[in-house]
Point group: C2
Chain length 556, copies 2
């Protein structure tokens, strides 16, 4: 399996011809930011950009706690059968022994079953003894029909880069891994429509599209490992959403298999198709609980030849909102990212990496603005006008503009390096929230006040909490609330939950903006959805998976 | 009820400050196109831009044929109760007599029940004796619960501007008209998110947004009459889809009422919300068959200060595809429309209106390109570079560029006037199809050959068919196949159907790109959806509307 690059930025623009907007050197160029530890890979098999509502610990490889121990309330459902030699025999005949990986019995001795049982964060671990790797939709269909007939629970698994434990078993569910379903079927360079198997790795799809001068309308840090089927199943958000919109708009068709083996053949390659209920939408974000996505068709935009990145210091959250409004207005059709970072996150990056900050002064807030357009000169002029406006009107206090591909990466690294640096002290309590933009940062202040009053934040080893910080995709009103800690602590957890979820509910926000429910947020869906909505969701689950074999113990 | 403007263009740009891109006069300016008959309103109460798979006839107002006569296979289902005085009493007490319009009993004598029984094309006519106009979601809920308990069938009705007979009763179904549910609830000018009632007229919503410097991400000819709830219920496509994408991506939340009165409270105002199945998507395009949409929240883009329109003559369909690819590449982020018209449609507009064509030569194909951007100078330069490229490389043969708001409207009128002019000889057989772009126009040629071979096309009165023409939203691969006729003729119909549908099926196209199924396409869904998909759709219908009271005799 391919290893993802540590910082999305470095792979993201690699294939784009970059033209430095040299006229902008009135604002001082971006400092050269390089720090130790950002180029060497960790021992983790996958390294997605972890920003979600999970604890990121430092557990050694051999001691990953079983999910069933971390969540003792989860009990194996007795209705599910246990895998028998007869079942194994069926799958072996259906798929061949290489594609049916059985603990202790795999032909390929180098392939251990354990990576399929645990996640890249080493937070979740299941007990499966059987991993199946189908190579066709028909095989997926036969597997599911057999499992449904025999009451065998299953977990669909893509690149296994999720943050909420959705893609690994809790007990002995059979893993259905999509990695062998990895063909790109067609690309139409007039319409921009790509058809590909669910198991195609996002970066491979994007590289394929780069050759055709298009991009995949989704980008995220885990692109080197995550699969497009998993992206669709979890309705991944990522870095391009502000510009290209959500997968609900971009995915044109889906082929999926229901629990009884029914193949949902809704693989339309048409931009418009008003012939009945848009059932494919149900699979987008269903996290494998009603079926397994086997193919997708998706509309892909043209690749932008011009990319610019600027980084600003801002005096207040109010001014940050003003800057966002101005960016939307003046950068308009070329704005492709508006990321917010509080001063605390940037100081932590500085402190952990020891590298110079992009700006000299200290500011409570920073933002990173990226533009992507078809004409470098025009984009440069728009950005220049925007810069002059926000500087002259004191909406921003200082700023730098990248003048080279390296500087672009360096500025992005001060945003994307946050996740890694926050783990410096031990663990991180992480929340991925959608909130109205106006109250986005109040959440961070309120949690900081709360933990301060409880005497849990401080500089010494006796304090469990290092700080409470906030950053995220401001363009999508998506806050990453993070609490770096020296150790996980029950007292801290009591202060955080359900307080954070209740706060989110009071603002009609979402407890999961882009990372889904999985195991970790299943108990908290009531904070974002009404009883009626949960009842209606359970109806859908029962309709498509009456035996409940699809990814049990998760979602709702 | 507001009357829609005859040509969408004239109202569409009215509130936009226009800056003429005066540097383009190397290409000759657009001719002043004005013709008789385009400024006076017809006697029709609504005048949407009719481009869908329907016959557009010239039936006088008093003689609209009942749908039950046009479609004799449709029989009233005996399971539905007939409206009794007791029912009327209930609704009268619930809503007040003004909001419960009963034939012959309405307090407001000026309000006739007949407009609610028939459509603006005068093609569909029902037998209802009861129209209800709720003013709140709670009233909608009580109405549906009562109807469901008493087996009374209903038809949800918005602006009644559809083209497939979806919004009028077939028999005596109670009309639930949303016109009184018409408040705009909120608009956030940072996020661009609007929350409004389903009965708000699209143009009113867009005018409201214009004041806030935003636009509704949907535009269509019927904007003066159609309601945003109806737009969402029919997943309307329209003129802005190429740029802003479909409603599946832009609608963030929906409040709807199910047949049993359950209020689906999924009115999220968050751009990202991954907390369970995205059930609201089922209501987008469901044509009122599983519930009534009462409120929507939708993300609205900034309004573009610069609009440019150019019109080209092209030698072949291959070159038209090249022009589209170049436009996508060079105009990229500012391209907002790419419309194709064959030479026959443009000659018909010329012939019927007697006005000079925008270009002097005769070409087999024409296209209209619109750009919308934030900087008039930049857009002008991009367009100039594009024009030079496509002229020098002989991708297009000739072109004009609008130099004023009037000229923009005039060029749009040569595209939008087609629908009206095609009706000149009597009636039009109309199909609204999605097809792969490469084979889009083959459909038109094949149908023309077929009718020619059958001896049905010609110049004299003895030939029923005048011509077979094609035009549409090339940017969305959406073809409007139109067959203007002197009279509707069984022999022509035999040649057209199921031939057209089989042809579409052979290319994996869609028999309804943007106009939905309604009454007219219900029998033909099998040409665009498999038996499995139809079975799954019927499951959804049965889940949400087990008694089948919601908009019966339609959809699937």
């Amino acid at each position: 399996m391919a290893t993802s690059s540590r910082f999305a930025a470095s792979s993201r623009w690699a294939s784009l011809p970059y033209r430095a907007p040299s006229r902008f050197n009135r604002i001082r160029p971006a400092v050269q930011i390089r720090w130790a530890g950002t180029t060497s890979a960790t021992s983790e098999p996958h390294q997605p950009n972890a920003e979600g509502g999970v604890k990121r610990g430092t557990v050694p490889a051999k001691t990953i706690k079983y999910t069933s121990e971390t969540y003792p309330d989860l009990k194996r459902e007795s209705k599910f059968a246990k895998v028998t030699p007869e079942h194994v025999d069926y799958f072996g005949k259906l798929l061949g022994t290489e594609a049916a990986l059985i603990e202790g019995l795999s032909k390929d001795a180098s392939e251990d079953i354990e990576p399929f049982n645990s996640d890249w964060m080493r937070k979740f671990r299941g007990h499966t003894k059987l991993v199946l790797k189908p190579q066709s939709t028909e095989e997926v269909s036969k597997i599911l029909k057999y499992c449904n007939d025999n009451m065998l629970a299953v977990v669909p698994q893509g690149g296994n880069t999720g943050l909420v434990g959705g893609s690994v078993p809790v007990f002995d569910e059979i893993v259905i891994n999509l990695q062998r379903l990895n063909n790109i079927h067609s690309f139409d360079d007039v319409s921009g429509i790509l058809v590909a198997d669910a198991g195609v790795i996002l970066e491979i799809a994007d590289n394929f599209l780069a050759e055709k001068n298009h991009i995949f309308p989704l980008d995220l840090g885990a692109k080197g490992s995550c699969q497009i089927g998993g992206n669709v199943a979890t309705n991944a958000g990522g870095l391009r959403l502000l510009r290209y919109g959500s997968l609900h708009g971009n995915v044109l068709g889906i082929e999926a298999v229901l629990s009884d083996g029914t193949i949902v053949d809704d693989l339309s390659t048409l931009r418009k198709n008003n012939t009945g209920y848009d059932l494919k939408q149900l699979f987008i974000g269903a996290e494998g609980t009603i079926g397994i996505i086997t193919k997708i068709s998706i509309i892909c935009p043209r690749r932008s030849p011009a990319i610019n990145v600027a980084y600003f210091g801002v005096e207040s959250y109010e001014k940050l909102q003003e800057a966002f409004k101005e960016a939307k207005s003046q950068l308009s059709e070329i704005l492709s990212a508006f990321e917010m970072m509080d001063g605390r996150t940037q100081k932590i990056v500085n402190q952990v990496t020891g590298k110079k900050m992009p700006l000299e002064g200290d500011y409570p807030f920073y933002c990173l603005i990226e533009t992507s357009g078809s004409n470098p000169d025009h984009d440069g002029e728009k950005l220049q006008a925007f810069l002059e406006h926000v500087m002259e009107n004191e909406i921003v206090s200082d700023g730098v503009l990248a003048e080279s591909q390296t500087q672009i990466q360096d500025l992005w690294a001060y945003r994307e390096g946050i996740t890694e640096c926050l783990g410096h002290w031990g663990g991180v309590y992480k929340y991925d929230l959608s909130l109205p933009i106006a109250s986005l940062y109040d959440m961070v202040n309120d949690v900081r006040d709360r933990l301060t009053k409880a005497g849990l934040i401080g500089n010494g080893e006796s304090y469990p909490v290092v700080d409470v910080v906030g950053y995220g995709h401001m363009g999508d009103a998506n806050l990453h609330l993070n609490i770096p800690t020296r150790r996980f602590d029950k007292e801290v957890e009591k202060q955080l939950e359900p307080y954070v979820y209740e706060w989110v509910k009071s603002k009609n926000g979402s407890i999961s903006a882009e990372h889904g429910l999985g195991v970790t947020k299943k108990p908290y869906i009531g904070y974002s959805k009404s009883e009626t909505m949960i009842k209606l969701m359970k109806q859908i689950k029962n309709l498509y998976d009456p035996n409940g074999i699809m990814n049990p113990y998760k979602y709702i």
